[in-house]
Symmetry: C2
Subunit: 137 residues, 2 copies
């Protein structure tokens, strides 16, 4: 059914919009928030740009430029790697962690409120979505 495709697109837009509204309060965009969360996952280890990029939901995001903006806001730091001079390693700053933690509370609460449904429904939904993406070629 075509309707299912539209439904997925529309629900995703809606989720993203709701999240962005909450994040605005913290001066973050959706994608900036994603980068911070990815960095937090490895913290206090550093990550190179490529590692961040391949963990993004939107695989074509231009990570260097998202990092530009996070750097201006002093939420992350850039340094070139000594092991491989091509790499730029990124570290969360304390300020970044503080903002991230505060915004994560709000975002998680929102997600739980929205994508509520019960455990069984969630499992079913995940199965269906994964079944669709199995078509991946």
């Amino acid at each position: 059914m075509q309707k299912a495709g539209l439904n997925i697109l529309y629900t995703a837009w809606w989720l993203k919009t709701m999240m962005s509204k909450e994040l605005k309060e913290f001066g973050l965009t959706h994608e900036q928030y994603n980068v911070l969360r990815i960095l937090k996952g490895k913290h206090p280890e550093q990550m190179c740009v490529r590692d961040i990029a391949c963990r993004m939901i939107e695989k074509n995001s231009n990570v260097p430029r998202i990092i530009d903006r996070l750097e201006i806001k002093k939420m992350v730091k850039r340094a070139s790697s000594s092991l491989d001079k091509r790499e730029t390693v990124i570290t969360l700053t304390q300020g970044g962690i503080t903002i991230l933690d505060a915004s994560t509370l709000v975002v998680n609460r929102l997600m739980d409120e929205l994508v509520l449904v019960n455990e069984k429904d969630a499992r079913e939904l995940n199965q269906l979505l994964e079944k669709i993406r199995l078509q991946e070629k």
Copy 2:
């Protein structure tokens, strides 16, 4: 479950990317294609910008600028309404219809291939997604 939220976002990104790849062959972006489809729905009647905007999936799309690009490619025509001089009415051109029909064939085939699953699964998926969006406030 948070996972369900991420799953929806990721699946939507994936669907959009697959569609965009097909549309590129016709020189269309995803959103330009959406505008053409909306216009086709009323054709040969005209539509004003506002009517198009409220039918878009991504509600914050900047429709006048998407129309700018379609106009350059001569797929639509702009004219100011005589009833309400504030309104700009948009019409599909024959060229627009030709491109749209050709691309729709390809897109529909893709959608059927991807969002395959069977009728029952599709109905279930739609129900779950709509259940989520019921949270809409």
